[in-house]
């Protein structure tokens, strides 16, 4: 039987991969490749060209550095959306030095030989009118320092010695003609100092002089809530590098103004250094400054932000020397989707529940509001359980959940499969020595269990934790992890001792912990057995019953330390490291910013002068290590890297079309209208199925739902399982990160089940047998909504009287239904049993104690008997 199932799984897996045309099977799970619908390979872009740097000697001869043949690849250039992240890679570039802890915006300026990547309006085509051509003045930067050199010492004015610069650009003041006066830019023209501006020309034609923060476009800000996307990226010692570059449409950046009608480019400038003109005799300080070739060795870091050689820094990207070395990648934006009208007077209908649906719901919503024959759909995010209760109480027409929820209402509920997606363990991990990002993370259930059970020590502060003082400080120092993921840094850090997860109850956590619960090695670890390297579980979590919907913070260890700040703020150290958050979205954002939510920072508040706890700093590029549990939708939307999880021992499966399809192939439905169950044991046996696969269901009452609401829910189920399953980034389509549900192949059973539920929801049929109130008038909706304990359990019948009470004439009147003298006793006594304090106390040890002891007793008796017999026989 089992073999047949796994065979079927393999078949459906193949079918699933066929559905996702052009997407490679992602068994290594390097990036979220699931249904990357936009990624039509036709719009990838590649170019190779030679770039160099020359010095003019005093005698007029030139010295040229060896040219470098640089290749730049861009994964997608057509039909982009605002905030889409595009993979850009290069090879053959000059290795970088002085790596900044954050390469974005002005933070990335103090580096040497980086690759500057920015978005510019216009394209590089000499045949176009000037207004449509790109130029440094149309390239976006979020700060002044990235574009202008204001009040520079003449000895440092390297750009005035650029051999390629026009003579007009070699003066003391330059960049804007006429040069702004002191009334506009008070600091620009200061005697004894040189200033070179690179103004910004906005899409509406307005020119911002960029001489100070007040003369920058409105979108520009340092330290804004919305971080910059332009960066100075790092090239490794082999000349390679890659980034995820976020493109911005006119919605995100109006001044830049890129849209489906305004062509734009991504400009990639591998910084080779300024080429220098003929030096004075003797050479000036500036002549020498122009010829500098770097303060820092290639591959080094500059987290302290020390000064760099300006001639090879990214700050002078706009000099003709650097600008001529650019790669201009033309990009096009897709048509912006039609959007709902803010003045639409229809009241929205909110479905409450799972965050897993969030990315799909964003694309689906306009497909409802834009049609008069549909209702105005809204997805309201809430923990699955809370949403289900709202639905049962009639405060929401439907709930979005991922598993069978405990029923507290009396109406039957149908679960319509609505989306196939799941969770992923996403990560930011840099390889040591600035060798680039790690892209092939593999994890198993035991490693996840170690992270969740807070069994890594974090830092020396954790060493005094009772029972686990010998454990590794963080996962990257754990031999088990290092065997799976060789070559990573072994510098312990607190952020690598945890996986950022949810604080609220969620079916996602249930699935994560169910995956752990079905792994014998992981469960042996949780139950206290050391792993082969001697690491043991944090005693606070030993024998924790899994799965759980909400991960508890069970540790109690407060380190004793000499640190007065920590003495003043005694907290549970491991809880501060774990610091779970309320939404998966927050986890994704933390990963995007490489900003762990570890709350162990302890310092003096500048305002109050008192010690306080807070979040640690953002991680430095080049030494990032952070893990988090995210939704597949978010992972695809933000281009987060996702880990492959072990299924069979030795087999690692990442989230992808085929691996999700394989998991769906294993799904079983116990009862009509109920959710399907993906048994983690079957996933493990199958080997090709992704363990994080989850189905999101639209759950709604099949009886007593308001007629209008019932029609809306049925419509939603039908629309979302048909047109809502077409992959794409348009209105009503299914975004990346979801496996389409279709009426053929492996997802057919989900499709069929959804249609069945849709019909049942629409019908709201109340079978006569299920309303034993036996009211002669067929008005079940009216009575039972006020009937306090109505439903199939038959409340009006006394606990002992049996069905004969059906004929009780009083039963038809709802207000008196639970007659005070008889009916509530079974309800009351049932709950009363919970009240008695003694019954609440249960203990597994206690339950097993007597039988075990009896067994021991019998055993002892036997031994004694045998012993006696032995003694006797010896005699």
């Amino acid at each position: 039987m089992l073999r047949r199932i796994s065979l079927a799984g393999a078949v459906v897996a193949l079918a699933g991969s066929a559905l996702l045309a052009g997407v490679p099977t992602a068994d290594t799970g390097s990036a979220a490749t699931l249904g990357n619908s936009g990624g039509d390979s036709g719009s990838a872009w590649t170019k190779t060209r030679s770039i160099g740097r020359v010095f003019t000697n005093a005698d007029g001869s030139t010295y040229a550095f060896p040219e470098r043949s640089v290749t730049v690849r861009v994964a997608q250039t057509h039909d982009l959306r605002g905030r889409q992240r595009i993979h850009i890679s290069w090879s053959g570039a000059q290795p970088s030095g002085a790596r900044a802890s954050n390469p974005y915006g002005e933070n990335g300026l103090l580096q040497e030989y980086p690759v500057v990547i920015m978005q510019c309006r216009g394209v590089d085509d000499p045949s176009l009118p000037a207004a449509k051509r790109l130029a440094p003045q149309t390239c976006w930067s979020s700060s002044v320092a990235e574009r202008s050199q204001v009040q520079s010492s003449p000895s440092n004015a390297v750009w005035e010695h650029d051999v390629y610069a026009a003579d007009a650009d070699k003066g003391r003041l330059g960049g804007l003609d006429p040069f702004p006066g002191a009334d506009v830019c008070p600091t620009a023209d200061t005697t004894g100092y040189d200033t070179r501006l690179t103004p910004f020309r906005a899409a509406n034609g307005k020119v911002y002089p960029a001489c100070d923060a007040a003369h920058m476009p409105p979108e520009a800000a340092v330290g804004a809530a919305y971080p910059p996307s332009e960066l100075a990226a790092f090239t490794d010692l082999d000349g390679n590098g890659s980034v995820q570059f976020e493109v911005r449409s006119s919605t995100e950046n109006e001044s830049l103004g890129c849209s489906h009608t305004v062509a734009c480019s991504i400009v990639v400038i591998p910084i080779m250094g300024v080429s220098c003109d003929r030096p004075a005799a003797p050479p000036t300080i500036a002549d020498n400054a122009c010829r500098q070739s770097g303060n820092f060795p290639a591959g080094s870091s500059n987290f302290a932000g020390d000064g760099v050689d300006l001639a090879v820094s990214p700050a002078l990207w706009w000099t003709e020397s650097n600008w001529r070395n650019r790669f201009s990648v033309p990009i096009t934006f897709g048509l912006p989707p039609d959007t709902c009208d803010i003045l639409d007077p229809r009241a929205p209908t909110g479905f409450y529940g799972s965050e897993l649906l969030a990315q799909a719901a964003l694309q689906w919503a306009p497909a409802y509001c834009l049609r008069s024959d549909r209702f105005k759909f809204q997805a309201n995010q809430m923990p699955d359980g809370s949403a289900y209760r709202l639905m049962e109480q009639g405060e929401a027409p439907a709930a979005e959940v991922s598993s069978l929820q405990p029923a507290s209402g009396s109406d039957p509920v149908g679960y319509a499969p609505t989306a196939v997606t799941g969770f992923a363990v996403a990560y930011d991990i840099d390889r040591p020595d600035n060798a680039g990002e790690y892209g092939a993370l593999r994890l198993n259930a035991r490693l996840l269990a170690k992270l969740l059970t807070q069994s890594y020590l974090g830092s020396d502060l954790g060493r005094d934790h009772p029972g686990i003082g010998g454990n590794p400080l963080s996962i990257n120092t754990d031999p088990e992890f290092r065997r799976l993921n060789p070559g990573l840094s072994t510098t312990a850090q607190e952020a690598a001792a945890t996986v950022l997860s949810l604080s609220q109850s969620s079916d996602v956590l249930t699935t994560v912990t169910d995956y752990i619960a079905h792994d014998p090695a992981a469960m042996a670890f949780v139950s206290g057995k050391p792993d082969p390297w001697g690491m043991v579980v944090n005693p606070a979590y030993r024998n924790l019953d899994l799965p759980v919907a909400e991960w508890p913070l069970l540790d109690t260890f407060i380190p004793t330390t000499q640190n007065t700040c920590r003495q003043d703020n005694p907290t549970v150290y491991f809880s501060a490291i774990a610091a779970p958050v309320t939404t998966l979205r927050k986890v994704s954002e933390a990963l995007l910013d490489a900003w762990p939510n570890v709350q162990t920072r302890c310092d003096v508040d500048l305002g109050t002068g008192a010690y306080k706890l807070g979040r640690i700093d953002r991680q430095s590029y080049g030494s990032r290590f952070m893990l988090g549990i995210v939704s597949l939708g978010d992972a695809a939307r933000y281009g987060l890297r996702t880990a492959a999880l072990q299924t069979k021992p030795g087999t690692y499966v990442g989230p992808g079309g085929s691996s999700l399809a394989a998991a769906v192939g294993l799904a079983h439905q116990a009862k009509r209208f109920e959710p399907f169950v993906i048994d983690q044991a079957a996933v493990r046996a199958n080997g090709r199925a992704y363990p994080g696969t989850m189905v999101v269901y639209t759950a709604a009452r099949l009886q007593h739902l308001d007629k209008d609401d019932a029609a809306k829910v049925a419509q939603f189920i039908r629309v979302s399982t048909t047109e809502g399953q077409r992959p794409g980034s348009g209105n009503g389509q299914l975004p990346a990160g979801y496996l389409p549900i279709t009426d053929s192949g492996v997802t057919r059973k989900l499709f069929d089940s959804a249609q069945l539920v849709a019909a049942a929801v629409a019908r709201q049929y109340v079978p006569p047998t299920s309303s034993p109130s036996g009211s002669p008038s067929p008005t079940p909706t009216d009575t039972s909504s006020t009937d306090p304990s109505g439903g199939p359990s038959g409340p009006p019948t006394g606990p002992t009287s049996g069905p004969s009470d059906l004929t009780d004439p009083g039963a038809g009147t709802p207000s008196t239904a639970p007659s005070p003298t008889t009916s509530p006793t079974d309800v009351a006594s049932a709950s009363a049993a919970d009240v008695t304090p003694t019954s609440a106390v249960t203990s597994r040890v206690a339950r097993l104690l007597l039988p075990v002891l009896l067994a021991i007793g019998i055993g002892c008796g036997l031994v004694a008997g045998l012993g006696g017999a032995l003694t006797r026989s010896r005699q």
């Binding site: 919605t251 969030a358 304090p837």
Partner: protein
């Protein structure tokens, strides 16, 4: 009010006929960015998700109100969200101003600052704790340090809680929640608050002392309450956090029922908040920079039995300068329409998320503030934004100043009254506590109408409210004179006509003082029990074996 509305309508109509402006199609949106309050973040995040369907992009980071005001002043954001206005000078003498940037306030949502806690009797969580304001003030100023304190026992009508130290959890970052809480402390309990704080007034940075724990952000405060070592902790936090945090027993985290001046202990449901805020004094002076800000003295002292004392509004700070360097037409349009949605339709879901919708007059005033975006830039369209089409649950047709929610707010259950109860119903369920869904255990004031639905407008139902001398009986010790029938077997009152009775699971603190559960006790007694049982089973066998060996030994000899 009516005249103002007419003028506004006239004005808007005039603007509408200006050439080149059509409502829906001329609107183009650009992303707006903001930062600030975590108090209101849960509902703001949902609004942001909602308006995505309208093509609006909004970025919001919950950095705390103080940081939100700072970011706005520094011009790095397009809006800020804060519970308190700019203070001019903050409590440390630093500037707390907009740095010359023109701005206006508009209220975005109402809510209650709740007190969530973890307190166990044995292994069971207490879910019906009640505290007076004075007790809360003393707890957060380290004057009441143990759960068995007589003041807490008195608040709970004689039910004592275990001897267990109280650990207040406060915010370590600059927080509007802290500002709201300390405003109330300073206003209501100055003699308790000021000696602790060392001065008068509010603070955004709670002066943590002694056992108290400081945590950054509302998420971390909730995590601390819910952790294994959380037993004995209590924190101030917006109501939406505890109601969405499920405890190990599968129920939401409870919140303290706070005593109001009407003599009832109430929870910050959307109803109780709405009632309380009918007494908020809103600055109606349009010429004032503090226009629309709140003065909450009347809220704190409102004697309606339903009012939750720590109710307040959260505010958005919007840039109104025509020459604001961060703003463009399309950004202003986005801000205007984002707020139009949030103040209008967005209010309908406030209750579900643990907030309370704004009354219509404040929505209307908010719209007028949004019109300042149009004043700054004539291309911003603010026409056709009609408050009456908001589906706002607080709306009372014909009178914008009335709050429907406050009018339909049910009366608290009799057992929530001072000297009565306490009610057995759980808190944290985002449901009002009424006579409908409590069972009045221990509260027997002889009112035969105990089981009729509440909402009797005359306030406390029984004329002879029970005195403090009443027997604080638990289940089964009910006054025999009561008209409520008691099931002889279960000792529970029967005939309560409701569906959501959670009577069975209520925890009544035992009047006999217990020590809180201690791990060491369990282990010690467990080992002892095992030892005894082992002895019980093994000793007879061993004795038999021993005696037999002796016998055989003797026989051999």
């Amino acid at each position: 009010m009516n005249r103002r509305r007419t003028t506004l309508t006239l004005l808007l109509t005039l603007l509408a006929v200006l050439p080149g402006i059509t409502a829906a199609h001329a609107t183009s949106y650009s992303q707006i960015e903001g930062s600030g309050s975590t108090w209101s973040k849960n509902i703001v995040d949902q609004w942001i998700a909602d308006v995505t369907a309208n093509g609006m992009a909004v970025v919001y980071s919950g950095t705390g109100s103080s940081q939100g005001r700072k970011d706005f002043a520094n011009g790095t954001t397009d809006f800020g969200i804060s519970e308190i206005p700019y203070q001019g000078t903050d409590e440390f003498g630093n500037a707390d101003t907009s740095n010359g940037r023109d701005y206006a306030y508009l209220p975005i949502v109402a809510g209650g600052t709740a007190f969530t806690y973890q307190l166990k009797v044995g292994t069971t969580m207490v879910r019906n704790l009640r505290l007076s304001g004075e007790t809360l003030a003393k707890i957060f100023t380290n004057q009441i340090t143990d759960w068995s304190d007589p003041a807490i026992t008195k608040d709970n009508n004689g039910r004592a809680f275990p001897a267990l130290p109280i650990t207040p959890v406060v915010r370590s970052d600059g927080s509007g929640t802290t500002a709201q809480f300390t405003t109330w402390l300073d206003n209501q309990y100055p003699s308790i608050w000021r000696p602790y704080f060392g001065r008068s007034g509010l603070t955004s940075y709670y002066p943590r002392k002694g056992r108290a724990i400081g945590q950054a952000g509302s998420d971390q405060v909730m995590n601390t309450i819910a952790s294994k070592v959380g037993n004995g902790t209590i924190a101030y936090i917006e109501y939406s956090y505890p109601i969405n945090k499920i405890a190990e027993d599968g129920k939401p985290y409870p919140v303290v029922k706070v005593l109001n001046r009407g003599g009832f202990f109430v929870e910050p449901t959307q109803y109780n908040v709405a009632v309380a805020l009918t007494r908020a004094k809103i600055n109606h002076d349009r010429s004032s920079q503090l226009y629309l800000t709140q003065i909450l003295d009347g809220v704190y002292s409102f004697d309606d039995p339903r009012a939750y004392p720590l109710s307040s509004y959260s505010y958005m700070i919007i840039p109104t300068g025509a020459d604001d360097t961060r703003m463009t037409t399309s950004k202003r349009q986005t801000l205007a329409d984002f707020m139009f949605y949030s103040l209008c339709t967005g209010q309908t879901k406030a209750g579900d998320y643990g907030y309370s919708p704004l009354p219509l007059n404040l929505v209307q005033a908010g719209f007028e503030q949004l019109a300042k975006l149009h004043a700054a830039d004539k291309n911003v369209v603010v026409t056709n934004r009609d408050v009456t089409r908001c589906n706002n649950p607080t709306f009372v047709a014909g009178d914008l100043s009335r709050n429907h929610l406050a009018e339909i707010a049910p009366m608290p259950a009799d057992c929530d009254k001072v000297g009565a109860g306490p009610c057995g119903t759980d808190t944290g369920h985002n449901q009002p506590s009424t006579n409908d869904n409590t069972d009045d255990q221990g509260d027997n004031d002889g009112d035969p109408n105990d089981n009729t639905p509440g909402n009797d407008q005359d306030g406390p139902s029984g004329p002879n409210s029970t005195g403090p001398g009443e027997d604080p009986g638990g289940p089964g010790t009910t006054d025999p004179g009561s008209s409520t029938s008691i099931d002889p077997e279960t000792g529970l009152p029967i005939g309560t006509d409701n569906t959501s009775t959670s009577s069975g699971s209520a925890i009544y603190a035992n009047p006999t003082e217990l020590v809180a559960e201690r791990e060491a006790d369990r282990r010690t007694f467990g080992v002892l029990a095992v030892g005894e049982l082992l002895a019980l089973v093994l000793l007879p066998g061993l004795f038999v074996g021993w005696s037999r060996r002796r016998r055989t030994g003797r026989a051999v000899r």
